[in-house]
Amino acid sequence: MRRGFFTLAVAMILFTSSPGLAQIKIGVLSDLSGPTSDVGRPYADGIRHCAEYLNKQGGIAGQKVELLQVDYAYNVQQAIAAYNRFKGQGIVALQGWGTADTEALVRFVARDEIPTYSASYSAHLTDPKTAPYNFFIAADYSTQARAALQYFHDNWTEDRPIKLGLLYPNHPYGLAPIPAIKAFAQDLGFELVGEDNVGLGDMDATSQLLRMQRLAPDYVWVGGTISSTAVILKDAQKIGMQAKFITNIWGSDEQLLKLAGPAVNGHYGLHTSVVYGADVPGMKVIEELTGGRPQNIHYIRGFASMYTMAEAIRVATEQGAITGPAIRDASRTLRDFDPMGLTPPISFFEDDHRPNMTVYLYQLFEDRMELVAEQELERRPEWFGH
């Protein structure tokens, strides 16, 4: 019996210590159980499925991708702990998630030279002077909002300025694009009629909407997430508000269509990727991976984020060892990289980590999100970083 245990122990040691195939370890910080888990789960699924796809294709330059995932529940302290654990496990890159944790880790990843592709699209993360190892694959929050204003300005036919209202949560995420919106609205000659706060967890927005209705805006920017957006849209329908609402990237998705029902019809959602079922090469891959089960739009961005990072790693392997600085430098060589059509082409530069200036405008209906425009802005230097 004792000999049996001994043999088993030796076998296990040999098995675990035998040199296996080289693996590219990537840390994934996900919110699967915290306050943003409703969008965090599909995004994390997108990353995971992309890694599966890459491994089925033989990995990246012959090396398999190994994802080390931690559910940090949108808690900064847990994100830092998870990051340190990842570092001990030998990750070469990180797929991050929210604004609070991505920002808390900016200095850590710069110090440890770990390239990070996050789902926080704060404009200041695009400045390599302050965030040299941070990347993301969507136009930043400010650019998204500016693109919407540009689109409505270009398509305005009446002989009067457009009246704009702003509804956003008094929260770092909600406040981030507001200065950019105000400045660009002024440049385009919009009339800013009013602004108000609707919290991320608010169950009623009637009083704010009644005040806003009196100001008769043509368009109202909604800067919350889907639950607060659903409340706003339903309450606006209840009071018969005529304005068109523009929701930002975390404020509309397929779930919002269910939550808001008919109240969603005709309003606009800003996104930076195609929706499930779009006629692009990447969709066939996704359909195959998911067995034809429809996926959330955030899933598609998660997939594209991992796919773009994999391309940077592939370029890095061609130039030598897979290290953090090599992946960062390789990311900066990407020029109009097309993640199988899932997002607009992506380019990063040494002094500018803005992936692109393209935003998709969708019109929302209770049964679909219909692409109405692909708005592209010029890469203006004065917009850089904010």
Binding site: L32, V76, A81, G88, E103, A104, V106, R107
Partner: protein, 348 residues
Amino acid sequence: MRGKCGLFHTSYASETRFFQTGFQKLSLGVFLALLLCSPFFLSNYQVSMLNMINIAVIGAVALNLLTGCCGQISLGHGAFIGVGAYTTGICTLAGWPFFAALLFGGLVTAVVGMLFGIPSLRLKGIYLAIATLAAQLILSYVFLHWESVTGGSIGMGLDAPVILGMSLDNDAKMFYLTFGVAAASVLLVANILRTRHGRAFVAIRDFHQSAESVGVNLFAYKLQAFAVSSFLAGIAGGLWAHYTMYITPEQFDIMLSIQYLAMIIIGGLGSVLGSIFGAVFVTLLPEFLGTLAQWAGSFFPNISMYFLALREGIFGLILVLFLIFEPEGLAHRWRLIKAYWKLYPFAH
């Protein structure tokens, strides 16, 4: 006393000594020596956990002095930690030496804490909790909207602390700083509790009218409790800011205040040792549950997903179970364990 069975005190001074026996001194010395050597044999991840525990210990011991010892419930502790973080950060960015910035951060937080402690003369219990909740909301608003000072929603980037020309730019170096400050904070609070002030705090907590009738100036002592507690919270915030090197208003929200309340409830209200236990427990529990989820996931992938979703619930459940079965916290359990081994193998 050597050679006698049990402890015999012949003076109040001997009764209030920290260490009643030589064994206590020896075991604590060995423990501290091991802790000081730990960066040499622990992984970077484990040392980073120790850093977070050290910072949590400072915050928890501060809140325990105010809430556990003086009976003043505070739901604004997270914001006070934020005040310290921002003040220290602003000072170091202005070129102040780290320790000067840290101390100034603590002092500014003490002043802010005293300001919000003023209502404590008229309010107590749940009413004071709401008043301190207001402090949390007001300060969160200031962090977010005073952009020229705090950076607003963008936040504030900082550098690692520099002490005597040495940059504490890794977890191992940072450990000695956080550990030193945590040890000093624990010693400070433990000593305060042995003084006239500490006894006044406890008297106020137990029954404020009795305390007043024996000459305790309620307002002065309550403000003192707020000041000392906020000072230490500010120190914890300053360390946190320079440990993470990037602070945003989201890091100091109401959830942080609740987390610190959970620490002192789980650890044991009114106990310095309990604060340490609570800080360790609350910091390590999510890591333990995460590891458990990963381990379960390697056998049953689907179960792991359900487990992850349950994780926050499990945390809440543990809190409730503590309140029901161990309301005096881990410190009480530790006393029982010590008593058990003292009498072992004789139960009575």
